[in-house]
Amino acid sequence: MIFYLLRRIVYTIPIMIGVAFFCFLLVHISPGDPLVSILPPDASIELQQQLMKLYGFDRPWYEQFAHWFWRALHGDLGTSIASGRSVSTEVMRAVGNTLMLSCMATLIGFLFGSLFGFVAGYFRDSWVDRVASALSVLGVSVPHYWLGMVLVIIFSSQLMWLPATGAGPGGSGEWAWDWAHVQFMVLPAITMSVIPMGIIARTVRALVADILAQEFVVGLRAKGLTDLGIFLHVVKNAAPTALAVMGLQLGYLLGGSILIETVFSWPGTGFLLNSAIFQRDMPLLQGTILVLATFFVVLNLMVDVLQTTLDPRIQRS
């Protein structure tokens, strides 16, 4: 087991280098000059070149990459051009917020997704199945930023039950687990949970239907297990795949929440990426992408390891 774990960790190293290289390159070849946003419009050519030199933009791209990567290995992602603050600090704070939001969303999505999936799988082709399946299709296909706006209109503008934007009263940025703060999370978390909910519901429905059709369920019935006893077996058989899908969904949410975070002004990585792109803030952009990619890789690793421990048939060698 330890050997397997070590090997999986070693495998992630080339992936990480590749990711770092590609995100550097992508930012490099995209149009737009990072200095435009901080230079006054009437700046002289000399001042421009001075700043280029200061930030290292005058050197060839591979030197820039080597320099950036070396510093990144030491945990230094550079300084944000727009805010002048350390990229690491900015990214880590945003990551914390996003992690919180996506974990909450995944949890909600997983709970309801599994519920719908189990009900639909157990009562296949009944009206319950159709309702649950329709809901999950709706969850996957509704544009979530639109859903976010609709929720804001209903619960914030009309009913005034929940705040529409931000992550805490007064914009202090400090999070606490009390209702004053948590209420800010409710709408974005629900909006975000709709995607994993739909996908998990569909996965679990297919899994349950598949498991129930297997011979061993007849075997369990033949030894006298009640429906509840059989249900527990179905859960344990469905768990590895369902958890793997959940892990992947969490991974997508960690990186793919730009729209939702922007709608709700939630100060997470998506929001940060969005502003970095619009301000041509290259160090911030690269740093954020690198951190997100790292999360994705680590998450995949965790899912694999978890799956191996849950399902004895997956070979560890």
Binding site: Q214, E215, F216, V218, G219, L220, R221, A222, K223, G224, L225, T226, G229, H233, K236, N237, P240, L310, D311, P312, R313
Partner: protein, 350 residues
């Protein structure tokens, strides 16, 4: 196989006019059409027939394992004096595995892949008895020793996929015997195994049956395997028992043309190189569209016009040997002339 002192003549299983119809498809499929069967304590009855003859359907009806919504079961099934078809869900679950239990054709599919074999046996015991996990495990270990699984302690913690085919079937048998049932339903338990392992499993079953006084219904299409364990043969065709009688009687002197054809279609050890294996021409009838007369008539070499008119009644041939055929006179001495064809138990002593 059993002496009369071991065999109690009151039937532990009694099936009367069982009819099973699957209603899920476009046309209802009549899988079982009036089966009468009784099994005494300590007796082994082999249900023999080809695929689709209704033998497994009959067996599974005894535990009511068919999906209730898509199956119509008529007739009467009594096991250990209790009417199985009248049970409610709770009583049914208590009955399954406790009074009658089943071993399946392919234990790799019939065991839950994500639980260890030991855990599945313990679960079964604790489902039916108030017993501590440690005691249940102790019982599971005894069962593993009894079915002669080597290093039983270690095997209890193995997953089904980690065992060999023969070992898995032994574990399946241990699971089925976990709650000391009175009736064992074996659904082609040796079909998925290779020949040497088959014999071992058959011998084990026979031994356990003698020790525990079980009533066994053994479903198979393999005459050779059936001869090894069965006291009585019941040959099924198109959802009916067409011939029934003591094993020796049926294999020495089969009287239904179908049984006769089955015997002749056996590949025995003494086949000449290049000789053609006899086969039964035609195909079994469509169970959604059964003929009015004898279902075997269109494949039968002894067929007469009368065979196509009505269902033949059972003809008593003496010594509890009976066949549902109008032509039992014609089949009377066919087999005695070619008696070498009859399969003989490997373990039979002269």
């Amino acid at each position: 196989m059993n002496t009369d002192t071991q065999t109690d003549r009151t039937p532990i299983v009694s099936v009367r006019d069982l009819r099973v119809t699957f209603t899920g498809g476009k046309k209802p499929v009549k899988a079982v059409n009036g089966v009468d069967l009784s099994v005494a304590r300590g007796e082994t009855v082999a249900l023999i027939g080809e695929s689709g003859s209704g033998k497994s359907v009959t067996l599974r009806s005894l535990l009511r394992l068919h999906p209730a919504r898509r199956t119509r079961i008529e007739g009467r099934i009594d096991v250990a004096g209790v009417d199985v078809l009248a049970m409610n869900n709770r009583t049914l679950a208590d009955y399954r595995g406790r009074i009658a239990s089943m071993i399946f054709q392919e234990p790799l599919l019939a065991l839950d892949p994500v639980y260890t074999v030991g855990a599945q046996i313990v679960e079964s015991i604790r489902r039916h008895e108030r017993i501590s996990p440690a005691d249940a495990r102790k019982r599971a270990l005894e069962l593993f020793e009894r079915v002669r699984i080597p290093s039983p302690e270690r095997r209890l913690d193995a997953y089904p996929h980690e065992m060999s085919g023969g070992m898995r079937q032994r574990a399946m048998i241990a699971l089925a015997l976990a709650c000391r049932p009175q009736v064992l339903l074996a659904d082609e338990p040796t079909t998925a195994l290779d020949a040497t392992v088959q014999i071992q499993i058959l011998l084990l079953l026979r031994e356990l049956q003698r020790e525990l006084g079980l009533g066994i219904i053994f479903v198979t299409h393999d005459m050779g395997a059936a001869v090894e364990v069965a006291d009585r043969f019941a040959v099924m065709y198109a959802g009916r028992i067409v011939e029934e009688g003591p094993t020796r009687e049926v294999i020495r002197n089969p009287r239904h043309p179908y049984t006769l054809a089955l015997m002749q279609a056996r590949a025995d050890g003494a086949m000449e190189k290049g000789a053609r294996l006899a086969s039964i021409p035609g195909a079994p009838p469509d169970l959604a569209n059964l003929p009015a007369g004898c279902a075997f008539a269109e494949r039968c070499t002894f067929v007469q016009p009368a065979c196509l008119q009505t269902q033949p009644d059972a003809v008593e041939l003496g010594g509890s040997h009976r066949a549902r055929c109008l032509r039992t006179d014609a089949t009377a001495h066919v087999m005695t002339r070619a008696a070498t064809h009859a399969p003989r138990p490997l373990t039979e002593t002269a």
